[in-house]
């Protein structure tokens, strides 16, 4: 089920396609993400998720089709998109040699925030997370680093935040605390676009899509999809949809 047409969309993708030579990584995908929605973007390795995310974050132009992110066109306004979105990934998010406070100031500078604004948001962020500005990021356990990285990605108050496997390897309690930060951001109206390999986390999303070989194989609220496909869990649905393509791409 897609959102009602009257609803404001944070992301609108129409027949979005990206080819690399003869290989079609993203193959005519169409979907909307509503403002303030927690949208889970799932798929097997090599199904085209990373390519789609690179297009939606303004890093890669599509081959055909259209997409608007935070109201901006991915072909002509990618620089605007980069300013309006937040991004964090499991692989790189913070400078480990810098302190917590230095990382926040650096990001504030990149996004042209005034010193006063950075100071005010830093105070709020650190008290919410229970972190000390003088701590070197290197000294933080992974889960804390990821919670900080998420908060830093929200520093410039983006309308959409893209999270690429943000909880990979994080302990089970901290992983859940991370999801509470996601819920809080969504409750404030921030749209959250998230990928994960934890199938229980797919259940935490308002809606999910499952990419299969460049296309969207399923799209809807987890409960609707489970009844539509008559499966007990999203894990089961994922395996059913994504099975033996076993592609070597990507």
């Amino acid at each position: 089920m897609t959102a009602a047409p009257a609803r404001e969309h944070a992301i609108e993708a129409r027949e979005l396609t990206r080819r690399f030579g003869t290989f079609t990584a993203v193959d005519h995908i169409t979907f909307d993400v509503g403002v303030g929605e927690v949208f889970g973007f799932l798929g097997a390795n090599g199904a085209g998720k990373t390519t789609a995310i690179r297009i939606l974050t303004g890093l890669l132009a599509p081959s055909s089709g259209s997409a608007r992110v935070a109201g901006h066109d991915v072909y002509t306004e990618s620089e605007w998109i980069k300013r309006r979105i937040g991004y964090m990934s499991q692989k790189f998010s913070l400078y480990e040699d810098l302190t917590v406070g230095e990382n926040i100031r650096l990001y504030g500078g990149i996004y042209d925030l005034s010193r006063e604004v950075v100071r005010e948001r830093t105070t709020h962020m650190l008290s919410r997370l229970g972190l000390d500005a003088a701590t070197r990021v290197q000294a933080l356990p992974l889960g804390w680093r990821q919670k900080l990285a998420f908060s830093v990605a929200l520093l410039h108050e983006p309308s959409i935040v893209f999270l690429d496997e943000p909880t990979s390897g994080v302990d089970p309690i901290t992983r859940r605390q991370f999801w509470e930060l996601i819920y809080e951001a969504a409750a404030r109206g921030t749209t959250v676009f998230v990928t994960t390999h934890y199938m229980d986390e797919a259940e935490y999303c308002d809606r999910i899509s499952i990419m299969v070989a460049g296309r969207i194989g399923a799209l809807g609220a987890p409960a609707e999809l489970k009844s539509q496909f008559d499966v007990g869990s999203i894990d089961e649905l994922f395996v059913r949809l994504a099975r033996p393509t076993a592609g070597a791409a990507g």
Binding site: P141, D171, I173, D200, A249
Partner: protein, 311 residues
């Protein structure tokens, strides 16, 4: 003789205690899981067991041989698949495998009965550069390379991390098949739901063991009534459930919340009824509360106590 014996093994890096007096035993032919998040000490333990690192204190034997003094013999007899992709990205699939075989004086053909079922899935890509394979295929190639000298014990460090749910399932099916050949397999994972694929598991967190047992008994050792709470508006439900005066723990868990009560000795039916009434009074007309079976992840969270604090 045990396949692995670990006695009070400790290792520290600067001010981080990676392993804190760990002891465990693994029998020949077991599929043994080491379950824990990043930073638990899994990789440190594996590196010591495959002779790539030495402990600060304690001792360990693998196949009856000491991991510090008998390293040259052990290196021929163990197979190790590191967590990070460690093959040559510029060599093809076939070249990588031939290289690892030749280092040990083996040939791919002679090992076909062992690696064939895995290698056959890679065969269509044998001329592809290893660096250009998908995550799942890389793991299969790495597994072939770790098996090509016919080790007596196989150590796999997080073979399923960052791999999608389908490839993970396939990898566990391969491990099942390998175990049926009698091979001892020690595998680590941060995914708690994979514990059920192992014969026995050790839960590990911040260098300490939280328990060792068969998966079912670990789950059953949770020891308190556990409830699944369900309603349409999940985030509001989470907050409202935490506000129940008798709540001990409330965690999101798949499509429900898992709840424990702080009172001892109260019948589960009464807890469920009181919590349901609390939620209905908060406007959750659709709230359902049912007793549910704990999983390994519930036990892990209960035993890990407080999550890691920021330094």
């Amino acid at each position: 003789m045990n396949a692995v014996t670990v006695e009070a093994l400790s290792k520290r890096f600067a001010d981080v205690v990676a392993l804190d007096a760990i002891s465990l035993e693994i029998a020949p032919g077991e599929l043994f899981g080491i379950i824990g998040p990043d930073g638990a000490g899994k990789t440190t333990l594996f590196r010591i067991l495959v002779t790539l690192s030495v402990p600060d204190a304690g001792r360990a034997t693998v196949l009856g041989r000491d991991v510090v003094t008998d390293l040259w013999e052990l290196r021929r007899r163990v197979g190790y698949m590191p967590g990070r992709f460690s093959l040559y990205p510029d060599l093809s699939v076939e070249e990588n495998l031939s290289f690892f075989a030749s280092v040990f004086g083996a040939t791919i053909e002679a090992q076909h009965d062992l690696i064939g079922p895995i290698y056959d899935q890679l065969a269509p890509f044998k001329d592809r550069r290893a660096g250009a394979l998908s995550g799942g295929m890389k793991q299969k190639l790495a597994l072939c390379c770790a098996l090509v000298h016919r080790p007596e014990i196989l150590f796999l460090d997080e073979p399923t991390t960052g791999v999608d749910a389908v490839s993970r399932r396939e990898l566990w099916e391969l491990l099942d098949r390998l175990r049926n050949t009698g091979l001892t397999i020690v595998v680590s994972t941060p995914y708690m739901d994979e514990a059920d694929r192992c014969g026995r598991v050790a839960l590990i967190q911040r260098g300490k063991l939280l328990g060792i047992d068969v998966p079912d008994r670990i789950a059953a050792s949770f020891g308190r009534p556990l409830f699944a709470v369900r309603a349409a508006e999940r985030y509001r439900l989470l907050i409202a459930t935490r506000e129940f005066a008798n709540a001990a723990t409330v965690f999101p868990f798949g499509d429900v919340l898992h709840y424990t009560d702080r009172r001892d000795g109260v019948p589960p039916e009464r807890i469920a009824r009181e919590l349901r009434e609390h939620l209905q009074a908060r406007g959750f007309a659709d709230a359902e509360v049912q007793e549910t079976r704990p999983t390994i992840e519930d036990t892990f969270m209960a035993r890990m106590g407080e999550p890691e604090r920021a330094a």
